[in-house]
């Protein structure tokens, strides 16, 4: 009888997708949080592009460069910050504990989170592109190769940053502390990765530190998608470095996954 019931349990995939629906519903009902998550990068983009104006050779505006970089920063927010705080909150308010007492597996829970992050990140990209196109002459690439680049940069960024967010949520003591331990490195790295400041203004050591983390590679990847190839010389390495980008983001996926597997807990209390 036990086995008959086991085979009849809904599959982890089905439960995961159902969790995805419920995660989205809960996320989009928290209006202030939604507005903040989505408009904050757009708001900073408009500010930055108004402070630093000017054009590069080939008529590329500073606004265009910031728009492309901000897409990278935006999806790091919808993945890394969203997961770091979201999972810590699920641990604090009893969501995870309750799930642990049901047939829901960790796989289904994370599948739900993946759906949430994927939808939120795509929405973020659409919003930032809309702002960039409306205000800063950003144009959508027509070359399919660039969309391929877009797809893998998007995927690797979202996966690596979600995993890192989940890992950091386990290290944090609670949701409050998770908000701090995710936001501080995030904002610091936005500066060091040339998202908030043009690359030529950054000291060498900051570039070095920035290039250890995913944000720099995400931002550079999206610049390679949305800026003409003549802009590659403006990068620290003088080229788009697609190989290194894939390698760096891929390595963070592996590190993130390992950290998750080692640190994941269903409750805040140990024991």
């Amino acid at each position: 009888m036990t086995t008959a019931q086991a085979t009849a349990l809904p599959s982890p995939t089905r439960v995961g997708l159902s969790r995805g629906r419920i995660e989205l519903r809960q996320f989009f009902r928290q209006r202030e949080q939604v507005i903040f998550t989505f408009t904050f990068p757009a708001f900073i983009l408009v500010l930055l592009a108004s402070i630093f104006n000017g054009t590069y050779p080939d008529g590329v505006s500073v606004g265009q460069v910031f728009s492309a970089s901000m897409i990278g920063a935006g999806i790091v927010a919808t993945s890394f910050l969203n997961m770091g705080v979201g999972v810590a909150l699920d641990r604090e308010d009893g969501t995870l504990k309750r799930l642990h007492g049901t047939p829901v597996t960790a796989t289904s829970y994370f599948l739900g989170k993946i759906v949430l992050v994927a939808v939120a990140s795509l929405a973020e990209v659409v919003l930032l592109l809309a702002v960039g196109m409306a205000l800063f002459d950003v144009t959508l690439p027509t070359d399919p190769g660039r969309w391929v680049t877009f797809a893998w940069v998007f995927l690797l960024t979202v996966v690596s940053c979600s995993l890192l967010g989940i890992a950091i949520s386990s290290i944090a003591r609670g949701a409050q502390s998770a908000a701090a331990v995710t936001n501080v490195p995030y904002v610091a790295l936005l500066f060091m990765s040339g998202v908030y400041i043009t690359l030529d203004a950054l000291p060498e050591w900051m570039l070095r530190v920035g290039s250890l983390f995913p944000i720099k590679w995400a931002a550079q990847g999206f610049r390679s998608v949305f800026l003409p190839d003549s802009m590659a010389v403006q990068e620290a390495a003088g080229s788009w470095e697609h190989g290194t980008t894939a390698l760096a983001l891929g390595a963070w996926c592996v590190v993130g996954l390992l950290l998750c597997l080692v640190t994941f807990r269903w409750t805040n209390r140990r024991g």
């Binding site: 036990t2 086995t3 019931q5 086991a6 009849a8 349990l9 809904p10 089905r14 439960v15 159902s18 419920i22 519903r25 809960q26 009902r29 928290q30 699920d90 308010d93 009893g94 969501t95 504990k97 309750r98 642990h100 007492g101 049901t102 047939p103 829901v104 597996t105 269903w266 409750t267 024991g271």
Partner: protein, 277 residues
């Protein structure tokens, strides 16, 4: 077969010994209540049985499996009502219950469960707008939606108004009448008396007494207190043979204000936890 057997269960948090050798045997279909003062180790014991916490010592079998290693299929057979949770604030009551129903192979009917816990009028309301007692009723609904064989309830009626408590008792009785095994903890002795087939009293991580509510701590054999109004004023006597005493006293007369009482469950309980302090 027993639904739950526990032998020599022990659990410490650092220097604090929360459970120090608990033995329990809970039969299938039984309603079993754990009583005990704050910090006695009730939640710790129950959470070990639920698979939420790891034990340090002892043997535990819940529905034939070790909760420390049991899998999905086992979790589908138990229902847990948490002592503290405030998740899913943005969902409505019905959305939550329906979503949880989707985790199980043979869930109960969503609206029927909402009705059974008395939340029909709040079915469309956001969880965050519920009162404390309504929130607990939702917890109960989520605990029973999967049609469990065994339900754990940790202080399920804390914060309920008297009417809601009666409703809840009726719900537990109806679950029990369909053969569901129930393990609950409570601080309300009337609740234990009304619901439980058997109770155990835990003090300082140990079971100090176990039995039916009527016989706990030798309650049924305890001396009866006979009180009446004599000519000199009110009188009270403790006796093993109240019938004989009254016959002798009255000799056919009416004894004014006559009462015969045995210790209440609360008296017995307070005596039990007092002895061990």
């Amino acid at each position: 077969m027993d639904a739950i057997t526990v032998r020599g269960l022990g659990k410490s948090y650092g220097d604090v010994t929360a459970v120090a050798g608990v033995d329990l045997a809970i039969r299938r279909g039984e309603v079993f209540a754990l009583l005990g003062p704050n910090g006695a180790g009730k939640t710790t014991t129950v959470e070990v049985l639920e698979g939420h916490r790891r034990r340090d010592r002892g043997e535990v079998s819940v529905l034939g499996e070790d909760p420390g290693t049991a899998g999905r299929a086992w979790r589908a057979r138990i229902g847990i009502v948490l002592q503290t949770a405030n998740d899913a604030a943005e969902l409505t009551v019905r959305e939550s219950v329906r979503h949880y129903a989707g985790y199980y192979a043979h869930p109960a009917d969503v609206d029927e469960v909402i009705e059974r816990v008395g939340l029909t009028e709040k079915a469309g309301a956001r969880v965050k707008s519920l009162s404390g007692g309504q929130r607990r009723r939702l917890d109960v609904a989520l605990g029973i939606i999967g049609g469990p064989e065994l339900v754990f309830l940790d202080e399920p009626t804390t914060g309920f108004d008297p009417e809601a408590r009666r409703q809840f008792w009726a719900l537990i009785r109806s679950l029990a009448s369909t053969g569901t095994t129930i393990l609950l903890t409570t601080h309300y002795l009337d609740e234990a008396e009304a619901l439980a087939d058997r109770v155990a009293v835990i003090v300082g991580g140990r079971v100090v007494a176990e039995g039916t509510p009527a016989t706990l701590g030798g309650r049924s054999q305890a001396k009866a207190t006979v009180s009446w109004l004599a000519e000199e004023g009110p009188r009270t006597m403790l006796t093993d043979t109240p019938t004989a005493l009254i016959a002798e006293l009255s000799r056919g007369r009416e004894l004014p204000e006559l009462t015969v009482t045995r210790p209440s469950l609360e008296d017995t309980y307070l005596e039990l936890i007092g002895e061990t302090r």
